[in-house]
């Protein structure tokens, strides 16, 4: 191939790819800004210096609003999600990663659209896009942690919710050890238990979005059966899907992003019976 042809092709490729550079941080292909273990350590440090996350709800039944992949920038769907959650007096809103595109300005926009303090409890976790462009620093500054538990107390029962950081495609060995200890020591104290993690564990369709390594998937499947986890909720794939394996319902929720044709979110209904769910599409 002649040099002139190579240069022409290179210029065309750069021109085509340059708009994507604003939303894709190509450094992430070969090097992370922080490892999952480093983010875990920072999350644990933040957890230890802040009060535990507990919510009291007045009735035996309550609903959790769950969204993923808002990819702020645009915020129309995000506003609708919080508006719907507040209107229905949701127990909490869980935000399962890819909240932003990683830029500091995206985090500022996201913060500006969060519900007013006291109106709705929100629980965010980091996704892969949130880590782009050194985004963990903004996430950590705004939210403090991406690995934690929160508990919802009804008058007669308590439910345990576990939030994991899988933004790097793996939960890492430290976070796995933490997850195991939480399930072993605390799961039996609670009525229901659900796990939230951005990267979808299971692969229901051909897609470029990736999952944890199969070795990690198998360890987690075993853990969730062994400890009777009722629900595992993921985002990342931008397409809803569900499967039941043992006692666990695995759910991938739609993307909330304004750019998504089939955008939506998830509602989880908690009662004495097994947790139920409903997809909501815009």
């Amino acid at each position: 191939m002649e040099t002139r042809q190579i240069i022409t092709i290179t210029v065309i490729l750069v021109a085509l790819l340059s708009p994507a550079c604003d939303s894709i941080d190509f450094r992430g292909v070969y090097s992370a800004y922080e490892t999952v273990d480093q983010r875990f350590d920072q999350s644990m440090e933040w957890n230890q210096t802040h009060e535990s996350r507990e919510i009291n709800v007045p009735g035996e039944n309550y609903v959790l609003y769950v969204m993923a992949d808002s990819h702020v920038g645009k915020t129309n769907h995000l506003d609708t999600f919080f508006h719907d959650a507040e209107n229905e007096h949701a127990g909490a809103a869980v935000m399962v990663g890819d909240l932003t595109e990683g830029h500091a300005s995206d985090y500022q926009t996201f913060e500006a659209h969060l519900p007013a303090p006291g109106s709705l409890r929100t629980f965010p976790i980091a996704g892969n896009h949130d880590l782009y462009f050194d985004g963990w620093k903004s996430f950590h500054s705004l939210f403090g942690t991406s690995t934690y538990t929160f508990v919802v107390h009804t008058p007669t029962a308590s439910d345990l919710y576990i939030c994991l950081d899988s933004g790097g495609g793996t939960i890492g060995n430290k976070q796995l050890a933490w997850l195991k200890s939480i399930l072993q020591q605390r799961r039996n104290q609670y009525r229901h238990c659900a796990v939230f993690s951005h990267v979808n564990l299971l692969r229901f369709r051909p897609t470029l979005s990736t999952n944890p390594f199969v070795q990690e998937v198998k360890v987690l499947l075993d853990l969730f059966l062994r400890h009777n986890v009722n629900m595992v909720v993921n985002g990342h794939d931008h397409n809803r899907n569900t499967a039941v394996f043992g006692p666990t319902t695995y759910i991938i929720t739609d993307a909330l992003s304004d750019e998504c044709n089939h955008a939506g979110y998830l509602k989880i209904y908690i009662s004495k019976a097994k947790p139920d769910y409903q997809f909501v599409r815009f």
Partner: protein, 247 residues
Amino acid sequence: MKSSTAHKLILVLSFTGMFTTSRAQATVQTYIDVGENNVSEGTFIKNACQVDYGFNRFILAAATQFDINGNAAHVFSGLHLSASRLLQIKTFPVKIKGYYILNRFSELMHETDWGVRFSTRKLPHFLFETGINFRTYTINSNARNDYQVDKANSKLHENFNLIYRISVYLKPYPNRWNLALSITNTDHFLVNQPTNPIFNLQGLYRIQPRLLIHFESWYESAGVFNISTNYFGYFFRTGIQWKLDKS
């Protein structure tokens, strides 16, 4: 002798004749893996043994894997069965392989994979392989009883997973020694999702015509296709391959 018995005998003799009169070749190989990853809880050591039997242009293979050290639930942790056929499609030498893999990774459940692969060494410095895999996770019957799991909820399927391997060899194949760099999502007892490539550097040396030794280093990086990479694991492998040539 009844005619049905005679027919059966003829079939058996024909089948045996196919093995004994044709150009048959058996190969035995064994290797050992030492490594660690984010879920291994320390160093793991695995050993595998494989027997290949080739006749005409067919190859039958059976392999077993043993977990010697690590957090595996069973010592006998893997089984791999395959049948291959060598073809010539125009100028392309192609190997078609049907396979079945059993992974006993837990006391409560197991994984099965099956599929078909196509590979070619048309270009002497390259190996290209692609195929389709079907994976099923199954909760064992004793676990279904212990955890009151409905049989309808005891299986999880991941279908039509693309598998691939691209290997670049320093020397043209075949050569007495070689170095190869590979990117793949599959190993003897492992089929990863297509978006989780694994990188492998392999060195091999044929000590004598029937004895080959190899050494490999594997690196697993999570999140590559998420453009948010993170170390997952690595392992080293060494083994020998011994050709029991009858010709």
